[in-house]
Symmetry: C2
């Protein structure tokens, strides 16, 4: 065997990315090839090495950890490890996302009733607005629509973002935060608003008037939900657009964003 | 050796979490112990298995992948793999965060000049507002303050969120999105606003009047930055609070959030 070196893709930050699936190597020869590659990259002044290990090449993980690589992130199908080579420069490898996004919706119908649910699992929080975690590639309003439909069977349309709750540390994982957006939504068709609760996620689901909600004891309608309701009523009375969404496109950069701005 | 079973922590969703550091096992005995453990968990109707492998126990990764585990996420120090045991139920294991959070700031001083920078690396985008990626445990306004200070040397205070740009897919990783908040900020001390550019990140940094900005050619001040400036001026003229922040605490649940609401 010749003096094989791992082949990868260079980036504008003096980094190199190695995909194991493009570098077929046996577990026996891997440590020696890695050693030679690191020597060459160091000589070439490579800064950060990104090493993507796909499931079938999982044997690489032990070897990389033994050679000073660190876990960066993982998704179904692969784990990414990194190593910063310069000994005289501070590492500047970017972090992987650590913020979870959830979206809920306040839905009011033409009779001024609000759509509320009770969750089946978790800490008992009484009646609340439907919502849940975003899926990848979903815009805020898409998550709101999907979650409301899944939990209540009611189809809705997006109006505005009323409020956003940010927690910088949640208990599930270390160094992870959570953003929860609450949208004002309206029924897509006022004639099709009969709630059908989701047997897997919700234990109850119904429309309630403002009076009915206001008369609930505090453990059946928590303070935070009350503050959301107040923010919704404030927005509705103001006649303004609130933190509303517009699409923004820059064709020459092939970029398209949803932009939320307070009117 | 007795019929050893991996010991973990059960959760309210019929899940179990195994930490390798609390289950010292040799690479040779690991496959058999894992097999027995999975048999027992299946018999006990465990749904999701969470397997946290710390760096020193990296040998577990190959064994877990070979036994149908999948990568869930990783952070420096460990990788988490999961396996859903029920064959007749849809997996409901929650996703790891996939949204990156960045924050920038529009800073106007008492002479109605705006603080602008040019970045040192990346695609040339001309003059722009300072900002960057959030760090873990940072609130939006903290990121704005820190990034503006790092890039310009100017200390600022938070006023409101003017706009938020959401991209549901970015090119760096698959299934990852990005939220970029732009805040209105003001100098902490009007007598200490001399810009000191960051030699590592910025190639230029200065205050410019609205006229000077308006006279820049489009490649020196991009359309998106123009839209941010317009949103800032709109907010300033309205005299309203915009998408402003309040702290919200529920002592009985030991929870504290930053809540952003459009006034």
């Amino acid at each position: 065997m010749a003096q094989k070196i791992l082949q990868g893709k260079e980036d504008i930050y003096r980094g190199i990315t190695i995909w194991t699936e493009r570098n077929p190597v046996t577990p026996a020869e891997a440590p020696e090839i890695l050693k030679r590659s690191i020597e060459q990259w160091t000589a070439e002044n490579v800064h950060g090495v990104w090493f993507k290990v796909v499931n079938k090449d999982a044997f690489w993980v032990t070897i990389l950890i033994a050679n000073g690589f660190e876990f960066h992130h993982a998704q179904a199908g692969y784990v990414m490890l990194t190593k910063w080579l310069p000994t005289n420069k501070t590492p500047t490898l970017p972090r992987y996302p650590f913020t979870s996004v959830g979206v809920g919706g306040v839905v009011m119908n033409s009779k001024e009733q609000f759509l509320l649910i009770k969750e089946k699992r978790g800490i008992y929080l009484g009646w609340k607005f439907p919502g849940g975690l975003a899926d990848p590639n979903e815009d805020i309003f898409q998550t709101a629509k999907r979650e409301i439909f899944e939990e209540t069977g009611v189809e809705t349309e997006f109006e505005t973002v009323i409020t956003m709750r940010h927690t910088t540390s949640i208990s599930s994982y270390k160094n992870v935060g959570d953003m929860y957006f609450v949208c004002a939504m309206k029924p897509k068709d006022e004639n099709k608003i009969e709630p059908k609760r989701c047997p897997r996620e919700t234990s109850a689901c119904q429309w309630m008037t403002l009076d009915e909600i206001t008369n609930l004891p505090s453990w059946e309608f928590h303070r935070f939900n009350k503050s959301i309701l107040d923010a919704y009523l404030h927005w509705k009375q103001s006649g303004r657009k609130g933190f509303h969404m517009d699409k923004f496109e820059i064709p020459e950069l092939r970029r398209s964003w949803s932009v939320y701005t307070a009117d």
